[in-house]
Amino acid sequence: MHDSTKATIMRTILAVSILLSIGVMYYVYIVDKNYDVMTSPTGPEDRP
């Protein structure tokens, strides 16, 4: 397979992987809200 074809396939896989990863981040932070929040002075609050 030509190098340019291999490069095109690889870039496509990378783009798809990044989009999937962003999708996972969306689920974790927006949908599931799975993150810690730090407020003072008593320390970080647990996840809801």
Binding site: I18, L20, S21, Y29, I30, Y35, V37, P44, R47
Partner: protein, 558 residues
């Protein structure tokens, strides 16, 4: 979890369309984000439009798009009052930031090498993204949302602080290495190489330093200044486009200066507070002082080049006029000299002919022989003078043509009959053939046409030592042309000789091998006359010693 800001604790207003919020109005953030991203996109689109297939232009556009996306997402983290939105957007910034550095590396590589990096390098870059893809949603990326003292920051984890910033500095190092290699290879002007590298490195380093200050010291306000590396890179690129006409763009320095001025002045609309406007004005003045000086030098150089070109054009015009006068004087000289020579020659030929005819009594045989040679030489000289006169008449536009309808096939046949005895004396066969659909009537000057045919057939007789000469006349009713082909089995010609054959004073290189005398003007005169009568002469040959074919073409009437 506090998702919406508690108005009794922190006064964060709601952002509309994600980035429009009173939190940012009048502040520095819009100016710091919009000016760099828009200026970068404008120059990248401008460059790509000029050279769509250029790999460096494509990489530049990719880089500026990633930077513009980063700026837009970063503005959301500044403007939004929602912790979940800030966390999500902040986590995605990791991709756009690293892709920006990858794009910048591709830009420099393609600028120097006119192609993208090899597959193995691309594979390495792909592998580099794997930790981000696998752990980007975990605490390795963002540890928590810091809402202490009404801050709205995400705390960056080791994936940011060590992995991403480490790779950013690695790309900066790789670009530096590419630059040093390119300077050593000397494939382009050294200054151009250094300017391109300096521009992109200033942009990347200022961006990295701004983010590192924010990430390690929590001072994200100061980190905004890191974005101004992009307009600095745009200024470098603008200078390179003007000075070196990179990407084959011919951009005038004044146009670049005006475009830059417009962008910077319009961007002042993005700030409201006087203090911010003062800071921006100072920065703009400094920016323009440096850029303006560089561009004005370039304008001066362009203006002086144009003046030089205008001077050269004027000199060229006066030289052309002088040459035209000299050419005219030369033609007049040739004409006068030829006329002066013709008169005595006429006397020589006339008297020698009369003596040879016995008008002055019977001359001794030896004297007859000598007189015969004098007569023959005078005749040849007269022909040469006639050639010079014809050239002079043609060049001065005084050659007259008495065009009438006549039968060229019959004329050609008569000329062949007249020259056949001479051919026989030379041991050659002179043939006449025809293939006519019409009558063979052409519209031309009879005597000039006879002169041309005599010239072509005589040339064939001179340059053929053995074999035959065929005169073939045929017509093409559809194209309304009549063709007279003179085909010989003579010494032939090379392609180089054919190219120069119809030039003045040009003779075949192998002409001397058959000891032929000639002025080299016969074919020039013949073709000029043929063209003046609406026709042409062409020639072809299979090569030296393989004969030649001359074709006279004239417009057919019937």
């Amino acid at each position: 979890m506090l998702n919406i800001v508690d108005p009794t604790i922190c006064s964060w207003s709601t952002s509309s369309y994600l980035i429009l919020s009173e939190n940012l109005v009048g502040s520095f953030q819009y100016y710091a984000h919009f000016l760099p991203s828009i200026s970068g996109l404008i120059i990248a689109i401008f460059v790509l439009r000029a050279s769509v297939r250029n790999k460096a232009a494509q990489a530049l556009l990719f880089t500026t798009i990633m930077f513009a996306m980063w700026c837009y997402l970063d503005l959301i983290t500044w403007a939004s009052e929602r912790s979940d939105v800030i966390m999500f957007v902040w986590s995605t910034l990791i991709y756009f930031e690293l892709l920006m550095y990858v794009g910048a590396f591709y830009f420099v590589y393609a600028f120097f090498n006119k192609q993208f990096p090899p597959f193995k390098v691309e594979l390495g870059i792909f592998v580099m993204f794997l930790p981000l893809i696998l752990f980007g949603h975990t605490k390795l990326n963002l540890i928590n949302f810091d809402f202490t003292n009404c801050l709205k920051y995400a705390t960056e984890g080791p994936l940011w602080q060590y992995y991403v910033y480490g790779f950013e500095l690695l790309f900066v190092g790789l670009i530096l290495l590419l630059t040093i290699t390119e300077v050593r290879l000397k494939r382009r002007e050294r200054r151009e190489t250094i300017l391109v590298a300096a521009g992109i490195l200033l942009f990347l380093l200022s961006f990295s330093i701004g983010n590192i200050i924010g990430s390690f010291f929590g001072d994200w306000e100061s980190g905004q200044f890191g974005l101004f590396g992009m307009p600095i890179f745009v200024a470098f690129l603008g200078y390179i486009l003007v000075r070196y006409q990179t990407f084959k763009i011919k951009l005038l320095a004044t146009e670049a200066l005006m475009a830059g001025q417009l962008i910077l002045l319009c961007s002042l609309l993005l700030v409201r507070s006087i203090e911010s406007a003062q800071v921006i004005a100072v920065g703009t003045i400094l920016f323009f002082s440096v850029l303006g000086t560089l561009l004005i030098k370039s304008v001066r150089s362009e203006v002086s080049q144009r003046e030089e070109i205008e001077k050269l054009a004027t000199n060229l015009e006066s030289t052309n006029e002088r040459l035209r006068i000299v050419d005219q004087q030369k033609s007049e000289f040739v004409s006068i000299a030829s006329h002066q020579l013709r008169s005595p020659l006429t006397a020589i030929r006339g008297y020698t002919s009369m003596i040879l005819d016995g008008n002055y009594g019977t001359a001794p045989e030896k004297m007859n022989e000598v007189l015969g040679r004098i007569h023959e030489s005078a005749k040849l000289m007269a022909f040469s003078i006639e050639d010079f006169l014809n050239v002079s008449r043609i060049e001065s536009g005084n050659m007259k043509y008495a065009n009438t309808d006549f039968n060229l096939k019959e004329q050609a046949e008569h000329i062949v009959d007249d020259l056949r005895p001479e051919a026989i004396r030379s041991g050659l066969i002179l043939l006449f053939k025809s293939d006519m659909r019409g009558q063979g009537i052409v519209y031309a000057d009879v005597s000039k046409t006879q002169q041309i045919l005599h010239n072509l057939i005589n040339n064939s007789l001179k340059y053929t030592q053995k074999g035959s000469i065929t005169v073939f006349v045929y017509d093409d009713i559809g194209r309304k042309k009549l063709f007279v082909n003179v085909i010989d089995t003579g010494i032939g010609m090379s392609p180089e000789t054919i190219n120069d054959l119809f030039q003045k004073f040009s003779r075949a290189k192998n002409a001397n091998s058959v000891n032929i005398n000639g002025t080299g003007l016969g074919l020039f005169v013949a073709r000029e006359m043929a063209r003046a009568m609406g026709g042409d002469i062409s020639c072809s040959s299979a090569g030296e010693q393989h004969g030649s074919t001359f074709v006279l073409t004239l417009p057919l009437v019937a």
